[in-house]
Symmetry: C4
Subunit: 208 residues, 4 copies
């Protein structure tokens, strides 16, 4: 799919994430692969209101994060998007990063280095999962403002956890991906649903 | 009502369920009876985005789940829809299956084989219930990925609980039905409302 | 305002309440005074989907609840609407009855015969309240299916509590009113907001 | 930007705040600077429904709160808006005041004179904040109905806390501001998001 068409679709997905409260303020960033060789990504520019996201706010970047089409500054986390599409290959034709209430809470309080989600039917919405009897392990990375330097850490985690459908950044949000934008959007919905289920359950005292 | 018209209405109901967060990802499936003799159902196809659900994503199936009109693979749970419309007769002209946050939580933590809902005015929205002084018992089935084999278990429960207006599948969601799509949609809203009331109450400590 | 115009406005308010989850299923009923002498009310008919509420689903009734214009069965709680518009006079040109999650929970667990709401700025949105330093007392009535017989009880409460801006029915919902539909809608929003604040606070453990 | 254009944009922002439940009833008031010398503000009039907010419900006032264009009574809290735009200069080209569930709850139960928010990525959406490793301190003022007299107190707090991006009024809501309406709206979203995260966390028992 050409850059112009991907930009239209990314803008659609972004506005939908905003409507659900997963990309408030200027949070969140979204990308899709334009070509693999050479690697080119369509990606949201920095600091834009996702509720008004328009195709003109999407730029095309190369593997070093340089803008090759469109105008604007790519997201500061562009290097993460590039790392993911390289590590996951065809499995990551689109990468979505959301900042939701529940991913923020769950990543904040998890004592471990990741979040296990197990036994829910909704897990079947994740790529390749065929049964609710599945244990999804989402690694949690500590937050940083220097993502360029953190790329090796992300690459290592993606390699160690080849089955992971996403990862969390502590007190920050979710990264997930899919073969295309539709699959990546589906995975955001699946994971955000499961975060809400788990977050609400952990807050319950089960009094009657 | 003809298949084409039912497909339009099923798509409407599906998009409404998605908007309320009851059919995120590709979760949920929805059907309506096209004819009783021979038995024909209009039913959602598998793996589609309910937020974009269109009549073209609804197929007509026979009692064995074979597609007789439209294209696409019917939901993997089509055998459950067929079992319900047979067991409940005219009371089940439409069957709706939703995956909500609260039905997932309540079915997960209920120690018993079902969920009792009692004493709420909202219960009067269920077919045939005339007073808030009613005790609704929703059976909870364990989840499976082999619904074809599980049909006898579902049929047994529907026979044992002739008054039940729905049932839950553990960590999975709700099945409910009505004489037509409007009634089934009303029952989804009634039951989801009551799940949320009960779920929130169970999480409360009643501090002041 | 003429019946036809009031019917349009009642339908608007009803659809808005539905959108916020305050009138799911077929719950909720809404009315406005067409004339005082003789007393005539425009009121929603029974069993209709508030998400699709249209002016054709509003009827005009007299003080005994008989339909004098339009077609359909008036709400089973029409006698409550008549009692309120009589007891409150010009202060009740419109009556709105909603079934929300939080009014259901708060009325269920309140041990007393009413709910006190005190010290919130939002209280100033109630008719005649000029400061947040106000204590609103909402009586709670036990639920019944025989509202015609319960009218004297409602009338007594309205007389005993001349300052009350509404009342709750246990495990059922809220009745409130205003000089016109806009004021009554405003009061629904104020009270539902305060119910949610109080309900959420009561469920909190204040851990950090 | 001219008054007429600002009125259109204020009305847009107001309707969006209403849709998210941050300006129910007639709560909330919103302003933007028309000119600095002489000081002129476009500001919402008192008692209007923010869900229907139209440019005709915005007036232009001078520094004493007198209406110089448009018709209607300016918000009773206009003196606060004037105090903020003076104290913050170019940093406050627009001022937004919202009444949300979570700001009401957090300001109610905070024992201290302010609310600290620390360590969340979302903080980077606040003007000038470059890292999640930031501690935002939002002063909490006690509520009053005499804002004209309270102006010196507000001015003192703004001077003592030059880094604060907003303040809370106890059991009442949030004031925040930005260089223009877009930035102020972004800050509302950032702060409301963080209030919800903190409020939900404080209510959680972390049972599994």
């Amino acid at each position: 799919m050409a850059f112009a068409e991907l930009a239209v679709r990314i803008a659609d997905v972004g506005r939908q994430c905003y409507a659900r409260g997963w990309a408030l303020g200027t949070s969140g960033n979204f990308s899709a692969v334009v070509s693999r060789d050479p690697l080119r990504l369509a990606i949201t520019t920095s600091g834009v209101d996702k509720g008004l996201l328009s195709p003109g706010e999407i730029v095309e970047i190369d593997e070093r994060g340089q803008v090759v089409a469109g105008s604007g500054k790519p997201s500061a986390e562009a290097s993460l998007h590039v790392a993911i599409v390289r590590a996951r290959g065809a499995g990551a034709g689109a990468v979505l990063h959301t900042h939701s209430i529940w991913s923020t809470i769950l990543s904040d309080n998890a004592p471990e280095s990741g979040l296990a989600i197990e036994g829910y039917e909704m897990l079947k919405g994740l790529d390749g999962v065929r049964t609710h009897d599945h244990r999804e392990w989402l690694p949690i990375l500590d937050n940083t403002q220097d993502w360029a330097s953190a790329v090796p850490r992300v690459e290592a985690i993606l390699q160690e956890q080849p089955q992971a459908h996403g990862f969390l950044i502590r007190r920050h949000g979710l990264y997930t991906w899919g073969r295309d934008l539709a699959e990546a959007k589906r995975q955001v919905e699946i994971l955000e649903f499961l975060f809400e289920v788990m977050g609400r359950k952990r807050g319950m005292t089960w009094q009657r």
